[in-house]
Symmetry: C2
Subunit: 504 residues, 2 copies
Amino acid sequence: MKIENSTLKKVLKKYREISLLSHIKATLDWDLNVNLPPLGSETRAIQSSYLSEMITNKWLDTKFRSLYEKAVTEKLTTVEEKAIIRNLGYGAKYYYNVPKDIIIEKDKTASEAFIIWRQAREENNYKKFLPSLTKLIDFDKTIARHLGYKDNPYDALLDLYEPELTAAECERLFNGLKKELVPLVKKITKSKDYSNTVSFVGASNHYPTPDQERIVHYIMQHMGFNSQAGRVDISAHPFTTELSRHDIRITTNYKETDFRESFTSTMHETGHALYEQGVNPDYDGTPLASGVSLGIHESLSRFWENMVGKNPIFLHSVSPIFKSFYQKQLHAVDEKSLIQSFNTVQPSLIRINADEVTYSLHIILRFEMENELINGNIQIKDAAEVWREKSKKLLGVASATDAEGILQDVHWAYGSFGYFPSYAMGNLYGAQFLATMKKKVDFDAVLAKGDLLLIKEWLDTNIHQYGSLYFPKELIKKVTGEKLDYTFFLNYLTEKYSRIYNLK
Amino acid sequence: MKIENSTLKKVLKKYREISLLSHIKATLDWDLNVNLPPLGSETRAIQSSYLSEMITNKWLDTKFRSLYEKAVTEKLTTVEEKAIIRNLGYGAKYYYNVPKDIIIEKDKTASEAFIIWRQAREENNYKKFLPSLTKLIDFDKTIARHLGYKDNPYDALLDLYEPELTAAECERLFNGLKKELVPLVKKITKSKDYSNTVSFVGASNHYPTPDQERIVHYIMQHMGFNSQAGRVDISAHPFTTELSRHDIRITTNYKETDFRESFTSTMHETGHALYEQGVNPDYDGTPLASGVSLGIHESLSRFWENMVGKNPIFLHSVSPIFKSFYQKQLHAVDEKSLIQSFNTVQPSLIRINADEVTYSLHIILRFEMENELINGNIQIKDAAEVWREKSKKLLGVASATDAEGILQDVHWAYGSFGYFPSYAMGNLYGAQFLATMKKKVDFDAVLAKGDLLLIKEWLDTNIHQYGSLYFPKELIKKVTGEKLDYTFFLNYLTEKYSRIYNLK
């Protein structure tokens, strides 16, 4: 990558320190989740926030800021230069528009809120969390005002997590989606072939960790994960992180009563990792390195987890591997049951346990709640009840307890309003990518042969390599030739589950 | 700990950042040795030197320096306050006396020298390393001049690694030592009972890693390692590091052909770890935290490794554990052979493989070489030959190759002249501590019962808790009532090996 503009060169030189410090902080955070002995957590928090403050100060550094502001006014010629200055603006937006005391106050409130939320959830006591939630919503309204917006304050927040996403866009997509998803779920769960019991997992079954580890390494290698430039470890909640351009780490978790989770969650995280490993190496240390957004990231991880990992043809091709490791446990299991077990559709209360079909409904619920809360259309004190009603309407189930309702997720306790929709966007992006991929790649044949590298190569060429060069809207257009459309995802689900459950 | 002096309080507040950054850097270095995927090393080096530079800049910060210089002139009352200001001076000495361009130039030369040294060792080509070695010795002469010294420039370098240690002191101790050690080694290896073959280790034997791991965890727990505040991992070369006051990590290495190494090296590293875990918690983040010197640290690690771990009475008490894990491998091994196998004395070429008796001779060789090289008493081009002569004289063996002679250690390639003697000082300190401990603790009875916590408690009370409050000379005096004397170590060796080998 050639940078011609001399001001931009200077900005990039300073930006490298932000990148360096962020990677150092990522290493500490990775270690926190993978290794940290219990008594080390207090000091680790101090180390981590020390680095965060250093990063904030680099953004606020007057020299850096004035160089950036000068670069904005200059004539930039290449696509890369323009994308760099756009991404810098996007990254700086929060620091430059929101007064520092508000940032600090919100962070402090969120730290306290996290502890209160945890207690409130344990005690199933929404009222206890109410004051914190109220404060955090107020903060986010204030922040939205500082960031600026056209129609809806919630737009300013959405944009923090998924560039250019608006509430109106979410509404268009989600309304279309829910109209079809709700009946589809009913159709599946009422079908003759439907079953939600899995005979070969649970307390009386044992899948030793070392066997699961071998399968995890096997699938990562087959997906094309470069183990010279990354690794896999164990943590309570699987995640992916970039410690440097050539050090992309994923984690997984082994449940000895069920071999499926480590398998599909590893495919999910490896999907994130392949994105990071596939970015053009020239972009290292610039604002073009790394995946462009949470939504695009999630589209790739969910693509590998669901569209590949739980695909019946793929499961047919890997089932001999499962059966060779788990001969005793699986000998009486026919292939149809195995495939259905990976694709059980079951409306449930808890988002993180949701299947591929109902998952988006959980997100739509949260989007609607957030949009109304930020706009003051519902009273915060009534929100637990509104949650219950929406859950009933969207999923057909509602929890008697708030612990399994409005208090289930940590996101609001962090004050991360606007984050949730990116999860559902991932599903939509992914299905649209798949439809395009199928025009060039004989997807079914590739899965039948287990030749996953061909899929990785398509993703490398069409998506991974660009890193943050294109914002999601532009990327979707460039890759698929059209703007985002929820029907790709709907068609994908309808086709897949019609086949699995013999729907008419 | 109560700090009364307000200037010192301000210095300490700033020093906390140095401590914080050093711990962050330690985390990166730990990860480098334990986890880093091969392609990650280039960026990790950049991250690490970025943090190093930040730490250097904190020391050189004019505000910090002037506060420190003000504190020096003020009246400090408590032992802690005085020790803090002394340690700050000791830590700052290198930064404040050696011009920054020399520090940078030497670091650069050392980085290059490391690569050349590795090649030279591979090719057994001392001449190739000669120019780098010459430059590094010149740098260290210059550095010694900037640091200042009374009699011998080498004193200034020794003091960097072991406070207040001088070449004259080394000479006094080492000359006494070698006069007795050389004949002792001969006496042992010529004794009727002597054997240097170990029947139960090597290529045809297999000690599975999981069994060794269980024993490692067992011994760490019995030594009193707090696993809530630390952990054990695997690395090529075992080491101990402090990531924070409550996060002390050791590593070990499992050789499946020999179970003894992971056992004794874990005891060694746990010895380091217990020191760090035992420091008065009030000292956290101040220059009193952490062990006082390399020599004192090594005295504790070698104490646990050799004086406890290879003690015949202790080996008698743990041999049932070895035999229960390695029933098949050890069933024909009598206890005498087992004990001798842990205590085989064998003059050899390579320092890191040396036994407890010959080890100090390797160090004496290096001390004499360094002292003469820094004083220009031998030509650098002749050093490989001088090494050979000294090796013959001290150890009775000399290598035909320089790879196994002067090129064997990495230390000179780093430009670390003055480091080696601290290893031998550790042996001397340790034996003197042991002699004192035996006045209060029935050492043999404790080992017979395997009640290692009693030993740890004595060390906690008498040594660990003080951290860097006392410099080595003062600590030795305080703990043992006398100044350092090499005869404790000699007596310890003579007594132990006379018993094992039935010497007359």
